[in-house]
Subunit: 203 residues, 4 copies
C-alpha cells in the first residue's frame, strides 16, 4: 500500500469508504472463492468501485491480498499469570484461534508463496502475524528464565521456532490438527526441554 508521508492533502482526498469497500469486498471474495479464483474485476464489481480505485491503492493483486489479510491481524495481549507454562499456553491458544479461523487458514498458504517474490509483502505478513506473538512469547520466556523455570542459556530463537513451527507445519504441510492439545503439547515440551537444570540439580 502507498502511504503519503506528508499530511498535506492536495487535490481530492482518497475516499475512506472506498478504502473500506475494497478491503471488505476483497475479504469476502477470498473467503468465498479462495485465493485462486480471486479476481480483481470481481473486487471492483463487489465494492462498486472502478478498477482504477483499486490499482491506485494497491499496485497488484498480490498487494491487495496482502493488505486484505494484514487487516485480519488481531491484537495480542501478553498475559502474566505468574505461571510460565500458563502464559505460554495462553499465547499459543491465541495463535491456534487465529488459524482455526477458516479465512485465515485458507489464505495463509497462498501468502507463503507470494512472500517469496514480494519482499515487502513478506515484511507485512511477518510483522502482522509473527512479530507480535513472537515478541510476546520472548517476553514470557524471559520471565520464565528470571523466575528460574527455564534455563538461562536456552537458545531463544530455537525455542520460539519450536513453539511456532509445529503449528504452521500442520497448517501448511501435514494438515494435522491445530488445537489446544497442540498448544499445550509444545508448551509442555518447551517447559521440560528447556527446564533450568541447575535448579533441578539443586533440588
Amino acid at each position: 500500500m502507498i502511504t503519503s508521508s506528508t499530511t498535506t492533502t492536495i487535490g481530492r482526498p482518497r475516499d475512506a469508504r472506498t478504502d473500506r469497500a475494497i478491503l471488505a469486498a476483497s475479504l469476502e471474495l477470498i473467503a468465498e472463492v479462495g485465493i485462486h479464483d480471486f479476481r480483481m474485476d470481481d473486487v471492483a464489481e463487489r465494492a462498486r468501485v472502478g478498477k482504477s480505485a483499486i490499482y491506485r491503492r494497491y499496485r497488484s493483486k498480490d498487494e491487495l491480498v496482502g493488505a486484505t489479510v494484514a487487516a485480519l491481524v488481531s491484537e495480542i495481549d501478553v498475559a502474566d499469570t505468574g505461571d510460565t507454562r500458563e502464559d505460554i499456553v495462553a499465547l499459543m491458544n491465541g495463535a491456534v484461534d487465529v488459524y482455526t479461523d477458516p479465512i485465515r487458514a485458507a489464505v495463509m498458504p497462498s501468502l507463503v508463496g507470494a512472500m517469496q517474490r514480494r519482499p515487502e509483502l513478506a515484511r507485512t505478513i511477518r510483522e502482522g502475524f509473527l512479530t507480535g506473538r513472537r515478541d510476546a512469547l520472548r517476553e514470557v520466556l524471559t520471565r520464565g528464565i528470571a523466575r528460574g523455570d527455564l534455563a538461562a542459556d536456552l537458545d531463544m530463537e530455537l525455542a520460539l521456532d519450536v513453539l511456532g513451527g509445529p503449528l504452521f507445519y500442520r497448517l501448511l504441510i501435514t494438515g494435522g490438527p491445530i488445537n489446544r492439545e497442540l498448544a499445550e503439547g509444545v508448551a509442555d515440551l518447551v517447559m521440560r526441554g528447556f527446564a533450568d537444570t541447575m535448579k533441578e540439580k539443586a533440588a
Copy 2:
C-alpha cells in the same frame, strides 16, 4: 503423471529423451525464474519439444511441477547407530541438506500454495518429501522408546512435528538459518523433553 497401465506399446513409443528433456528444462526454469514465472511454453521451447508432448505426460502445470520436484527427492537411509540422538540428528541433517539446496528451497513455498488446490499434488509432495523421513524418524523414536531413551507415552505426532516444524517454519516464514545447529537443537530438545521419566527417577 500419467502412466500406462498396460505394458503393451501400440504405435510409436514415447521417446525417453523427451521425458528427460522435459524434466530437465522444467527444473532449470524453476531454478532460474521461480515458480511464479514458470511457463509451460517456456518448458516446451527449452526442451525443444511440443507442448502436446508435455501435456501427454502431465495433465497440468502443477502436475509437471510436482513431478519435477519429486525427482529431487533423495534417498533416506535410516541409520541405526545404537544412539537415539545420533540417529535423529542424522535424519535431521539429511533434511537440512535438502532445504539448503537453493532449488528445493526456492520451490517449496510455491508448492505449499499449490498444494491447497491440488490434493493430488499435495499427496505427491507429502509422499516425496515428508513420508519417507517421517517414517524413518518414527522408527528411530520407536527404537528410542524401546531402548528406554524416550518416554513410552510420548505423543508421536507431536514429536515428529516438533522435529520437522521448525525447519519448515524457518524455510517458509521466518527465514531463519537452516543448519546443523538447528538439527541438533531440535533433536536435543526432543531427547530432553520426551525423556523417559521413569528411567530418570529410577536412576
Copy 3:
C-alpha cells in the same frame, strides 16, 4: 494483416473459417453500431473467437478496421465504349456507387484519421480504394488523348484529382450529394477543361 512469405506451413495452420468469421463479425458490427462504438471484444464474441485469434491476425483495432473495409473493395471493369466521356462517367458512377453504400461511407472518415498514423494502413486503403480506379481513369484519359478528345499536355495528376477530389470532398467534408449528377458534372468539366485545343482550333 500478416502474411507468411513462405508457403511452408509448419504447425497448425490458420483456420480460414476463423479468418472469415472475424471479418464478417467486424463488418456486421461496423455497419450496426458504427466505427466509434466498434469494440474488439464484441468482434470476438460475435465471431465466437478468442481475442488472441484476432490479435494474431491484426496488430490493432485500426488494422482490423482497415482490413475489413479493404475486403469491401469491388472489382473495377474498365469500360471501353469508344466514347471517352462515357468511359469516364462509367468509372465515376462506379465510385459513386461505392460511396453511396452506407457502410463504406460511414467508415471512410474514420479511415482517413487512421491513415495518418498507420502508413501501412494508408497503403492498404490507397491500393484498395484508389489505385485501381485511378489506373482505370488514367487509361481512359490516355485513350482520350490518343483519340484526340483530350489535350496531349494535360496535367494527368490534376485531372485525376479533379475527378476524384469532389467526391471525397463531399463525402468527408461538405456532406454534399454523391450521385450521377456529380459523376457527369466532373466528367463533363474534365472533357471541356482539358479538351484538345489544337483540334478545336483546327475545326
Copy 4:
C-alpha cells in the same frame, strides 16, 4: 464552447489567462504529438491548469480540439482585381497556404473523423475553414458570370467542389503536393470548363 447568455457575471469571473493557457497548450500538444496522442490530462498539466478549468470551457476533448483548430482560421480577404482567374487563384493560394502549415495539415485528417460523430464540431470546422472561403469563391464566380467570363448556368456547387475538392483529396488521401501549381491548375480548369460558351460563339 459555453458562453453565458447573460452578461451579468455573478461569482468569480473566468480568468482570461486560463483561457489562453488552455488553447496555447492544446495547440502546442497537437502540433507536438498529434491528435491521436493528445490527452486532456496533458493539456491540463502543460497549461498548469486543473482539468475542471478545461471542462468548464469545453464539454469534451473534441470540442477543445475544434476550438483550438478554429483559432487557427485566418482571415480571408476577397480580392477584386477585375480578373476572375486572378481572384480565384488568390483565394486558392490562401487555402494552399493554410494547408501547407504543418499543424493544420496534421490536424485536418483527425478532424474529419471526429466530424462524423460530433455534428457541432462539424459545423464549427465547416464554418471556420470552409464557409468563408467558399462564400468568397462564390462571390468571385458570380462576378465572373456577370463579367461574362463564366457561363451563367454553371453548377455553382460543383464548381466550388472542383476548386476545393482536389486540395483536400491530396491532403487527406493521396498525399499529393499542395502548392500554387495546384491552385492555378484548378483555377484554369474551372475557367476553361465553365467558360461562357455564348460569348465564345459570339466571338
